[in-house]
């Protein structure tokens, strides 16, 4: 991976000492930022969602529990966030309905930040999805959950090395007890505010594929200047993804790219609402 980006982690620099969390349940008519909660099935996304929002979305110990998208709100250090709990998926490459819900929200819903929940006891399998999500969005934080279970099993996760490799903050948490959650929230706030610059790892594909991408990416960028994930879109078009073909033809992608240039967060709120439909 010669051309992959390396960025030193800054997640340890955040200090949660004075952080304040207020659970707002489903009261989220006014919010400043939209956070997506993504990850493999059964990694504790819904548990984290409940811990943050105070809602009682049912959690269960089986993959596929959350098939609908749940939404809730929380307030952290005076800023209101809307949290969207996406269905857990193993990848974003196939086209089952739950993967489509998750992928479409990440792409068209344009969350201000995506929290990728990973299972510390099975990090390798989870990384597969993390890498795919980092192709779509660069505003992301990895929450390494179930760190207590991992510890019991004799598994140590070096989150600093992980954030180094991934180019986004990685925060160890235990969603069930709330351990590390404040640090996670301040990382999210830092990423959104730009205090923490992310530079996500982009995978290097086979030379043939890379050549095809190199040809397609400039074409897509000329249609949608500033699109943050042109390479991923190119990959999906090569795969014959019907939803993205349609988005390209209808100008939806160009629209997403246009919104990228407006730094005002108020606008991202509207986009997020549009993205829900």
């Amino acid at each position: 991976m010669k051309n992959a980006a390396f960025v030193p982690s800054e997640s340890c620099a955040t200090c949660p000492a004075f952080a304040q969390l207020e659970r707002m349940g489903i009261k989220m008519d006014r919010f400043d930022h939209v956070i997506a909660l993504a990850g493999n099935p059964n990694t504790g996304k819904s548990t984290l969602f409940n811990a943050l929002t105070g809602l009682k979305q049912h959690t269960g110990n089986w993959p596929g529990k959350t098939v609908r998208r749940a939404e809730g709100g929380y307030q952290f250090n005076g800023v209101r966030y809307k949290l969207v709990d996406l269905p857990g998926t193993y990848s974003l490459l196939s086209t089952s309905q739950d993967e489509e819900v998750a992928r479409n929200f990440l792409l068209f819903g344009q969350p201000d930040c995506t929290v990728i929940v990973a299972d510390a006891t099975a990090l390798e399998r989870n990384l597969n999805l993390i890498l795919q999500i980092l192709e779509i969005t660069d505003k992301a934080v990895v929450a390494v959950n179930l760190i207590d279970e991992a510890r019991r099993k004799g598994i140590e996760v070096d989150t600093r090395a992980l954030s180094c490799d991934l180019g986004v903050p990685a925060v160890p948490i235990v969603a069930r007890t709330g351990e590390g959650v404040m640090a996670l929230l301040s990382s999210v706030a830092d990423v959104i505010a730009g205090r923490l610059q992310t530079q996500p790892r982009r995978v290097c594909y086979t030379p043939q594929l890379q050549a095809a991408l190199d040809e397609l990416v400039p074409l897509i960028e000329s249609l949608a200047p500033g699109l943050p994930n042109a390479r991923w879109v190119a990959l999906r078009l090569l795969d014959g993804d019907a939803r993205l073909q349609q988005a390209l033809l209808s100008g939806e992608l160009a629209e997403i790219a246009r919104r990228q240039h407006v730094p005002e967060s108020r606008l991202s709120r509207q986009i997020a609402v549009v993205g829900q439909q």
Binding site: T121, Q132, L162, D165, Y205, Q208, L249
Partner: protein, 467 residues
């Protein structure tokens, strides 16, 4: 500046130039990268916790032991539900019917007209009281126990154990998961089929979900099993026999699920079963408080309120039908009489058919509806309490036999989904046709199977009064 069409045609051309396995190459690149990063970030010492999980899984997902464990767990869950529900139901019925008597006499003292007293207390209230006393206890026991299994991480193991059966039926292995969810509520089971990727296999899972009895139908099965199958036993044996009967019915339902999946995948929904990966999550300690909250508030109270909202109007309808004079008796008995011949074809009777028609909005009110029609829409002052009284009423006054009970259990297991489930099927498939197919398949199976058992019994000369 290129046009979108140009980009698409370029992508098309580039795709054709790529080796055919480029999708695998993408996946492999991602896996290789993931494993490289994981190697740097994850350090493992020893394998303590894994060992216990693996040891448990060897038993729980073993070819023979896995099936045994599943059967035992199902039996324990049903037995807990049956034995607990019978005690609780009787106590609740005593309390609620007593309150009803109080209310009625209060109305009479104030000099309310007879039709108002009847409509309110013998119609609406009686319907509600029946539903609460019949439905609440089994749910309040079943849902928490089921949720404990869910939180432990047992459900994916069920899917793992049953995978080969579903694959042989041409269906998706995850259908075992959605089927299990159907035990709680079929509408929830239908929504849960979203975890199945292939549309063909998802449709099979949706269309056959109704063959496992949901919580709305458990009370019917429990009552019939207790009153008829376990009659003649006493003490703890009653609950044990009744539980075995209910377990048998659930297993028959699983059998029909597989049979119908097999038929569908060879006729309407032809195709091969697709492969999938299923993660067996680590066992986790369930959070008891959360379980009580979810199972009692989110599930039990939710379903009970839904049942009550259909039971109140149903009670009113039954009371009105029972009090409109028609010839020498009431409209209700006239309709039941008219349906009787049809019902007897299937080893049932006219009242049962009428009860099912009134109970289309929600399966859970079938037994209460039946009881109210039998007791002359509340004109009987004493509502039957306890298994003995119900048995005396059904066998003594209405000529029920074991065949009636068995066929009613089969009918209850196989017949059409409740209105909520039908609407959910429509929403999930976006097709009136598939919603209609789900009704035709289930109702057709129910009538066919009960017709066969009733005819067999007739041919063999069993239960003459029931045929």
């Amino acid at each position: 500046m290129s046009s979108p069409e140009h980009v698409l045609s370029r992508a098309e051309a580039l795709r054709r130039a790529l080796p055919s396995d480029f999708r695998d190459a993408i996946a492999q690149t991602l896996y290789a990268e993931a494993s490289r990063i994981a190697r740097r970030a994850v350090h493992t010492r020893g394998q303590r916790g894994r060992d216990l999980d693996q040891w448990i899984d060897q038993i729980v997902t073993g070819p023979v032991t896995g099936l045994l464990v599943m059967l035992v767990l199902l039996a324990v869950v049903v037995w807990l539900t049956v034995s607990g529900a019978n005690v609780l139901s009787e106590a609740l019925a005593n309390l609620l019917f007593g309150l009803g008597d109080l209310g009625r006499s209060l109305f009479e003292q104030v000099g309310a007209p007879w039709w108002l007293t009847g409509f309110v207390w013998d119609g609406v209230y009686l319907g509600l009281a029946w539903v609460v006393s019949v439905m609440f206890p089994p749910m309040a026991i079943f849902f928490p126990v089921f949720t404990i299994l869910e939180d432990l991480g047992y459900l994916p193991r069920v899917a793992f154990n049953l995978d080969w059966l579903f694959k042989r039926a041409g269906a998706h292995g995850k259908q075992a998961l959605t089927m299990t969810m159907g035990l709680g509520c079929n509408a929830a089971g239908v929504v849960a089929t979203r975890i199945i990727d292939s549309p063909r296999e998802r449709l099979i899972a949706i269309l056959t979900n109704n063959f496992v009895p949901c919580n709305g139908r458990f009370p019917t099965l429990i009552m019939l099993a207790t009153v008829f199958v376990a009659a003649g036993f006493s003490g703890p044996a009653t609950a044990l026999i009744a539980a075995s009967a209910v377990v048998a019915v659930v297993l028959i339902g699983v059998g029909f699920t597989l049979l119908m999946s097999w038929l569908l995948s060879r006729t309407l929904l032809r195709g091969e079963a697709s492969a999938f990966t299923l993660e067996l999550p680590p066992y986790r300690r369930p959070n008891i408080l959360r379980i009580l909250y979810t199972s009692l508030i989110d599930r039990t109270i939710f379903v009970l309120l839904r049942a009550m909202s259909t039971a109140a109007p149903a009670g009113a309808v039954i009371w009105v039908l029972g009090n409109i004079p028609f010839g020498e008796s009431s409209l209700a008995s006239a309709i039941a009489q008219a349906l009787d011949g049809f019902g007897r074809l299937f080893g049932l009777d006219g009242t049962i058919i009428l009860a099912y028609i009134i109970a289309i909005p929600a399966n859970e009110i079938v037994v209460p509806t039946m009881m109210m029609i039998y007791t002359g829409a509340g004109r009987m002052i004493e509502a039957p309490e306890g298994a003995e009284a119900i048995r005396a009423l059904l066998v003594g006054q209405h000529g029920w036999t074991l065949l009636t009970a068995v066929n009613l259990m089969l009918f209850s297991l196989l017949h059409n989904p409740c209105a909520t489930t039908i609407i959910t099927i429509y929403k999930e498939t976006r097709s009136r046709l598939w919603a209609a197919v789900s009704v035709v398949i289930t109702l057709g199976t129910a009538f066919l199977v009960t017709f066969v058992t009733a005819s067999l019994a007739r041919l063999l000369g069993l239960f003459p009064s029931g045929g």
